[in-house]
Structure formats: C-alpha cells, structure tokens
C-alpha cells in the first residue's frame, strides 16, 4: 500500500474529443498532485483513443496510459471494470478520479468494490491533507441542504467529480508528457451486459448541462406559454431553458429540462430564475451557478436569499424588458 503514488484521472471522450469533465478533473487533479508533490496521469479507455493523449497532456497530465481495445469501443460496464482494475493495479495511484457522468456513476462503485476501497460520489470539492496525504472529499447531501466531508483510509482513494465543479487549466500545447500503452486484459466471456446500440437524442439548441446561460421558470409562469417567452432570452444568450419540478408535474414542459435534485444539475455562468420560489430541491440543481439573477414578484421568496441580484417584479413586465435590454446590448 505504501507505494501508491500520484493522481489518476479516468478520461472520457465524447464525439472523439476529451470530455469537458475530464479536462476539469485534470485541472483539479493537477492541484492535488502538486500538493502531494506527485504525478498526474490519465487513463484513456476506448477504441482508437490514442489521438487524445496529446490533448490530455496539454490539459495538465504528466503521463497518459492508453487502453485500446475493440471491446471498449462503447461503454459496457463489465469490460470497463475489468480494464480499469487492470490499469489501476498497474499504475498504483494514491487517488483515482472519475467524472460524475453516466459512465462514472455506473463504473466507479463497481471499480471501488473490486479494488476493495471506499468511494465518494459527486464531489464538488477535493483537497489534500498535507500531513496525512489523505484526500478530503466534499459532497452535497440532503438535497443540497448540507455538505458532508469525508476521508477514507483504504487506497487508492476514489472520488467522482461533478461537472463544472473544477476548472480546466489553460491549454498548453508545449507541455511534455509520456504516453504508455496498457493491455486491456478483458475476458470477453465475462461481459454479462452487452452494449447493443447507441441512440442519439436530437437536441434543438444548446444542451442544458453545457449552456453558458440557463433561463429557468417555475410555477409562477402559469403555463406552457410562459415558457415559450423564456426561449427568446435563451436564444439571445446562447443558453437553454430550464424548469422546476412543479412546472414539469403540470405537464407544461418536458421532464428533460427539469433542474433540481431529481432533475439535472447545472452550473452555468448565468442562471436567471424567473417566477420560481427557489425551493431547496430546485437549488440543489443550480446552486453551483456563477451568478444567479432572480425575478419574482414576492419579495419574501427564498430565491432572493440565493441570488446575487434580485428583481422584485411581475415577470410579465420584467422579462420583456430584460430581453429587450439584452438585445440592445448585443447590437452595440
């Protein structure tokens, strides 16, 4: 156990490019590795993924381990777990980071179990205790109403990281790094859940989780027509429209745009909360936003305790004014 060293990020590719959360973990992982005075490496699993190695190095990695195998072309739990166990055993890292993505959620608990080590999911903050070299893992619990801080004694120390919780480093193509191949070591007969096919969902406009601005509406909008009016502002800001659970439950908008504890978690630069009260369940999905602007006619609404800027007004007056003002600004 004593020879576990360094930070290993489990990389992910989306459409042939390094996933945003991977670059963020490399940024965050760099700080942890520097604090430990140890190396930062990334493991890339897939088929034909070696080309991403240079990008990973430019994003902060000292070492890239490439696990290339046709069985890893698409995500299949059993194959990925076997390949990751193999890679982690070879690299022997002190810390393993994975993204809180559909893959990370699925893979991390199984990997932790096989490695007989503990795991914290969906961390929003990670740090190193200088003395013990322990990974200090902070994650929201109780619907964002509290934050819990964990440590673990087993090695490697594992955590999954929420998207946008960490910042990527500025890309530096002059950085030098080492690329090593690792064999996958997958026993194909042990793949019990097989990937059949991928069905892409057509998204019109900007994806909610990736949007730099989110315009969210609640029950106060009164119906689907209210949400239609949010779209204009969303388009201007190259953003996406979000909604609270009551608006979804009323059938005004599709479930896919729900922001909150049981919906999506977003952390845009700008979150404009319109005619929503700001329940803790909703805030759990957007409290990571850089700047929150609230528009609500009730000055006592909880959202005003969470927002950077509060506009006490009827949305029917404030929203057209806001949209127009932004339009004028963009013309300049």
């Amino acid at each position: 156990m004593a020879d576990h060293k360094g930070v290993l990020v489990c990389g992910e590719a989306i459409e042939g490019k390094l996933a945003g959360v991977t670059a963020e973990m490399l940024g965050g992982g760099r700080k942890l590795a520097d604090k430990l005075d140890e190396g930062l490496s990334v493991v890339l699993l897939g088929s034909g993924v070696k080309g991403l190695a240079a990008e990973a190095i430019a994003c902060g990695a000292d070492k890239v381990y490439v696990v290339d195998d046709p069985l890893l072309k698409d995500y299949q739990t059993d194959a990925y777990v076997m390949a990751m166990v193999n890679a982690v055993n070879q690299v022997a890292p002190r810390v393993v980071l994975m993204g809180q993505t559909s893959m990370g959620r699925d893979l991390a608990p199984r990997l932790a179990f096989r490695l007989q080590t503990a795991l914290s999911m969906d961390c929003t903050e990670l740090d190193i205790d200088a003395q013990s070299k322990a990974l200090i893992q902070t994650r929201p619990v109780y619907g964002g109403n509290a934050r819990a801080v964990f440590t673990t004694e087993s090695l490697p120390q594992m955590a999954t990281v929420r998207a946008k919780a960490m910042s990527p480093l500025p890309r530096d193509d002059a950085r030098k790094g080492e690329v090593t191949d690792i064999t996958a070591g997958i026993d194909a007969s042990k793949i019990r859940a097989k990937f059949v096919q991928k069905v892409k969902e057509e998204v019109t406009g900007v994806k909610l989780e990736e949007a730099p601005a989110v315009i969210a509406g609640g029950r106060g909008l009164g119906g689907p027509d209210g949400f239609k009016q949010l779209e204009g502002l969303a388009r201007l800001l190259k953003g996406a429209v979000g909604a609270t659970r009551p608006a979804i439950d009323n059938g005004w908008v599709p479930t896919s745009i729900q922001v909150g504890l049981t919906g999506k978690i977003v952390a845009p630069e700008l979150y404009i909360a319109i005619a929503l009260s700001g329940s803790s369940q909703h805030m759990a999905g957007c409290s990571g936003s850089k700047t929150i602007v609230a528009i609500n006619k009730d000055p006592e609404a909880n959202i005003f305790r969470e927002a950077r800027f509060g506009i006490v007004a009827d949305w029917k007056q404030a929203l057209p004014a806001f949209t127009q003002k932004v339009q004028e600004l963009l013309k300049e």
Binding site: R110, M121, N145, A146, F150, T291
Partner: protein, 261 residues
C-alpha cells in the same frame, strides 16, 4: 418472475440540524416517504409482474419506522415486504448497507431481477445498487429509462447517457437501477390500503441474516464522515429597487460591467 425492489425511507422535507461542536448531523428531516426513485423501481416491478407474472418483494434496510414505507409498498401492490433492521446497522455507509441487503437477498432466495432507484434523495450516492450487484456477483445496468423486452434468461433495456440512450442486453439474474423517466408511479388502491393495514412485515435482524458485526454499521463502513456543514449562501446579495424596467436596466448594466454579458 421473482423481483426484489430495494426501498429506502427518506425525509419528505429536509430540516438540517448540525451540532456546531462536533459537526455531526442531529436531524435531517421530517415527513418520511419512499425515496422517489424507489417509487419508480417499485412501479416498474409491478408492471413486469402484471405482464409476465411472478412475485414482487420489497426489501428495506432501516430503523423500525421504515416499516411504514414497506406498508406503503404493499398498498401499491408488492406481494411481501421485508425489513432488515438491527441497532447494529446504524451508521452504515453504502458499503455496509449493500452488504446487509445482499444478506437479505440471499435469505429471501435469489430473485431473477433486483430493481433499485438511481439514488436516494438524502444520501444521493447512487452506490448501493451497483455495490449490491457486485456482492451478489450479478450484472448491473444503471439509469434504466425503459425496459424493452424480457426474454428467457435475458432482458433488453435502454439506459440514459449524455448523448441520448444506449440499448443494453443483460443476462438474468441481474440487477438494474431506474431513473424517473421510466414510468409514472401509481397511487395506492383502496383494496391495497386495506391489505397494507393488516399485512405482516417480516423483520430480519443481524443474527437472523448471519451478519458479521465487523461488516455492518459504522464499523463496516470504510467512509469516514469528518463533518457535515450547511452551505454558505451567496455573501453578496443585492435587491434592486424601483420600477420593473429600471431594476432590469440596473441588473443588465451590472452584468455587463462584470463581463457576464
């Protein structure tokens, strides 16, 4: 088809109280209910039973009052309910919880399919399902949004992914976790409510499960909670004054100045 559904009782309303001295959580909430994702898990189990026949067992690890949630599961249509309860289980992290559930499943007689919710509303880890599957040596598919087909010894389903969904075929016996997109849970029927009233909830304690005290409760939990804190609210807050138009003008101007717009 023998289906087991894992259920957790969670607070319907969060009310966090933290001991400022020790940083320990003293109260988390009120108005208990079945964890929302577990409601979807139970609903899917009931639909599978209606289509393919079989039996649905609801299983929960928790204190004595978790029996209420199991009674609710019976009201909704579960055939039996089992509570895994022992003071020694207190303080269990996901690992210890999955261990207790795995013992429960073994004692129950291995089901063909275990269905869990994607994550709990309070702990929010999403770890217990996959860990349970690992402990039982079962395949596991997470975030299932639709079951397409259940055949002889295998099932085909859709799991949610960032870019859409994946179609996956899994061997049975196996385990899955479901997302809320999979269905809309039913409400209990009057008959169900009557049945639930008189239904016996089976309770198994640590000894009956053959649990090793070193692997349950806080002793069996590798994750150490250092402290629980309440999040800081935005320190800088500004309420604007004046007409809606002038408030909007002021905010947009401030956003422009700080280069957000």
């Amino acid at each position: 088809m023998k289906i087991a559904v894992c259920i957790k009782q969670v607070p319907g309303k969060f009310k966090i109280e933290i001991d400022p001295q020790s940083g320990a959580l003293t109260k988390s909430g009120t108005d208990s209910m079945i964890n929302p994702f577990d409601q979807n898990a139970l609903e899917e189990a009931l639909r599978l039973k209606e289509k393919h026949g079989g039996k649905v067992s609801a299983v929960s690890m928790g204190p004595a009052q978790a029996a209420e949630s199991l009674r609710e599961a019976i009201a909704l249509g579960a055939d039996e309910a089992i509570l895994l309860s022992d003071p020694a289980f207190e303080g269990s992290d996901t690992w210890a919880t999955a261990h207790v559930l795995s013992l429960g499943m073994k004692k129950l007689g291995p089901p063909d399919l275990i269905i869990c919710g994607r994550q709990s509303l309070d702990g929010e880890t999403g770890q217990v399902g996959p860990e349970l599957a690992e402990m039982l040596g079962l395949p596991f598919v997470s975030s299932v949004s639709r079951i397409e087909e259940v055949g002889e010894g295998s099932m085909r389903m859709q799991r949610m992914a960032e870019e859409g969904h994946h179609v996956v075929e899994m061997q049975l016996p196996g385990a899955i976790s479901v997302v809320k997109e999979i269905n809309v849970p039913r409400l209990p029927s009057l008959r169900g409510l009557m049945q639930a009233k008189k239904a016996a909830i089976t309770v198994w304690n640590g000894q009956e499960l053959g649990a090793d005290p070193a692997r349950v409760g806080s002793q069996g939990s590798p994750l150490r909670t250092v402290r629980v804190t309440q999040p800081q609210r935005s320190a800088q807050r500004e309420m604007l004054q004046g007409s809606p138009e002038s408030q909007v003008d002021e905010v947009v101007e401030k956003l422009r100045q700080s280069r957000i717009l």
